[in-house]
């Protein structure tokens, strides 16, 4: 296991609990990426142009790295390429920041073609502003000779921009396929429910519980990167549930842009389930909910949000009541559940059902003929058949969306007008 030292520079006058929760999150991210955290350093000061932390603190860091044999230094704060170069030179150790660490995790988790492209796009966005400095730093050690002179900066930057444009086109094409899939699912009468929430809130566990299927669940950040969709039924209605990538605080816009098509799975859903780990300390719950609201607010249309307060089995009833009242202003339509123990799932399903588009219930009268039987069979596929009677005709008591009822009524009229004649249909 690779060893890492974590470093965090705190702003003067910043709140202590926020700083410690950020460092804790960085630790969890590092562990998710497979690092063993051997030491942590924090400093409160304004940023240093050359080292992010102070020069004296950098020397202390270099001593710790030499002493412990660390393989990587991971900063919470975003580093400029000059800062990365200076720290790496002083400490003789590879240095990265939080965003690079997230990209490392994403790279290991990306399995589908779309996820791989998205991760590459995010990496290129991260590298683009640094491209010129990287080349000029490399040129410092340059020797005269073939390709020894000339401006690589521009060509390197152009290469990155070209690749970004190619990836965007490719992702755009894939997006069209997903859009078509989403439209056809809607046409087939499926309502789409999306799971959203902070990373490690228990979305995948809830997903498995609701669709009754085992998906990869780990007590780690970013277990799910590519959206997974499965169908399930509530009171006879067919629903599709999508498990998505978790949110995180202070995500840079280029990372959100790269994963926009994945996040669209949430934004274009009919109902959004916002999953919250309610067993955490209240300030952490608030911080995570605010990060979720920040990601959602500009993108969601009219989709209702149901807040799923998960992991209630880990806290007492008193604690739960106290937390619910503290976070009331951040939790639309709260439902209490424990996904791991399976409690509250039925209440949640009922709540989801109450937000689905309303279906009409009508009697459809069909002749007893091949066409009539085939329409009855189609109604079984498209809606909920509450009752079916076979007299001199077939009477189907069906509940379905508007288009299906209208189509069934039109066919009913046509079949009856032609007096059961098969040939004229």
């Amino acid at each position: 296991m690779k060893k890492a030292v974590l470093v965090q520079r705190n702003e003067p006058e910043s709140e202590e609990y926020r700083n410690s929760s950020r460092l804790q999150e960085l630790k969890e991210l590092a562990e998710s990426a497979g690092y063993l955290v051997i030491d942590e350093i924090t400093q409160t000061k304004n940023p240093d142009r050359n080292y992010q932390i102070g020069r004296g603190k950098t020397d202390e860091l270099s001593w710790i790295v030499a002493e412990t044999g660390a393989d990587k230094i991971i900063f919470y704060n975003q580093l400029s390429i000059m800062q990365i170069y200076n720290i790496s030179q002083t400490c003789r150790c590879e240095t990265i920041d939080k965003f690079h660490l997230i990209l490392e995790i994403f790279a290991t988790k990306a399995k589908t073609k779309r996820a791989k492209y998205q991760v590459e796009l995010a990496k290129l966005h991260y590298e683009l502003p640094k491209a010129k400095t990287i080349v000029s730093l490399l040129k410092k050690k340059e020797r005269p000779g073939f390709m020894g002179l000339g401006s690589y900066e521009d060509s390197y930057e152009k290469d990155i921009k070209n690749r970004i444009s190619r990836l965007r086109n490719e992702l755009g094409r894939m997006q069209k396929d997903y859009d078509n899939l989403r439209t056809s699912r809607h046409k087939k009468g499926f309502s789409i429910v999306a799971l959203a929430g902070y990373t490690n809130a228990g979305k995948s566990t809830l997903f498995s519980e609701m669709v009754d299927e085992n998906v990869e669940v780990e007590n780690r950040l970013f277990t799910t990167l590519s959206p997974t969709t499965r169908s399930f039924q509530v009171n006879g209605r067919k629903l599709l549930l999508t498990d998505t990538v978790g949110f995180i605080e202070d995500l840079p816009h280029w990372l959100i842009d790269a994963f926009k098509s994945t996040l669209d799975e949430i934004f274009l859903a009919d109902v959004i389930l916002l999953v919250v780990d309610v067993s955490e300390p209240i300030e952490i719950i608030k911080k995570k909910l605010i990060a979720c609201h920040d990601t959602l607010w500009e993108q969601i249309e009219d989709a209702p949000i149901i807040t799923v307060l998960n992991k209630v089995d880990r806290i007492s009833e008193e604690d739960l009541d106290c937390r619910i009242s503290e976070i009331e202003y951040l939790t639309p339509n709260p439902i209490i559940i424990s996904a791991s123990e399976g409690t509250g799932i039925e209440t949640l399903k009922k709540k989801v059902f109450s937000y689905l588009p309303v279906w009409k219930r009508k009697d459809v009268q069909l002749p007893i003929s091949d066409s009539g039987m085939s329409i009855a069979s189609w109604l079984f596929d498209e809606g909920i058949v509450h009752n079916i009677k076979y007299t001199d005709r077939i009477i189907v008591d069906v509940e379905a969306r508007d288009e299906v009822i209208n189509k069934a009524k039109a066919v009913e009229r046509k079949l009856n007008a032609y007096g059961h004649s098969e040939d004229q249909l």
């Binding site: 006058e13 609201h293 607010w297 202003y329 639309p332």
Partner: protein, 131 residues
């Protein structure tokens, strides 16, 4: 439902005449966690300054604009409006209760105040140019 007063300030950049024409908009609303339920009152106020705004100037501008709002509520702004200063630093400078935007509805409310202050300032500049 909770009552809030969403506030936004437009015009922090210097005009060609070297002044700062600032318009502050305060909107009194009732909100649920993810929706604006009702808008009660809107108030705008224009200010002219000859130097860039400091945090205390912003506090003064907001308090003067909010003073004309009849319904009580927590004052809500974007963090950037207060130069990203920590909440404890800023809230101690206000007479009334103050917080940064957090929920979806609070963000929508501040966005509404932003549209009002921005368009009011544009109208103000147009009128001033006619003089």
């Amino acid at each position: 439902m909770r009552d809030i007063i969403a506030v936004d300030i437009s015009g922090r950049h210097r005009t060609s005449k070297g002044h700062y024409y600032i318009v502050c908009a305060a909107v009194s609303l009732s909100v649920s966690p993810d929706h604006i339920e009702k808008i009660h009152q809107v108030n705008t106020k224009a200010f002219r300054m000859y130097r860039p705004l400091k945090v205390l100037d912003v506090v003064h501008i907001i308090e003067r604009t909010v003073s004309n709002i009849k319904r009580e509520g927590v004052i809500v702004t974007e963090k950037g409006d207060m130069y990203n200063k920590p909440l404890s630093f800023v809230s101690s400078r206000f007479k009334d209760e103050f917080k940064y935007q957090e929920s979806i509805s609070e963000r929508l409310a501040v966005q509404l105040a932003h549209h009002i202050s921005l368009s009011s300032r544009k109208l103000l500049i147009q009128e001033l140019e006619k003089i």
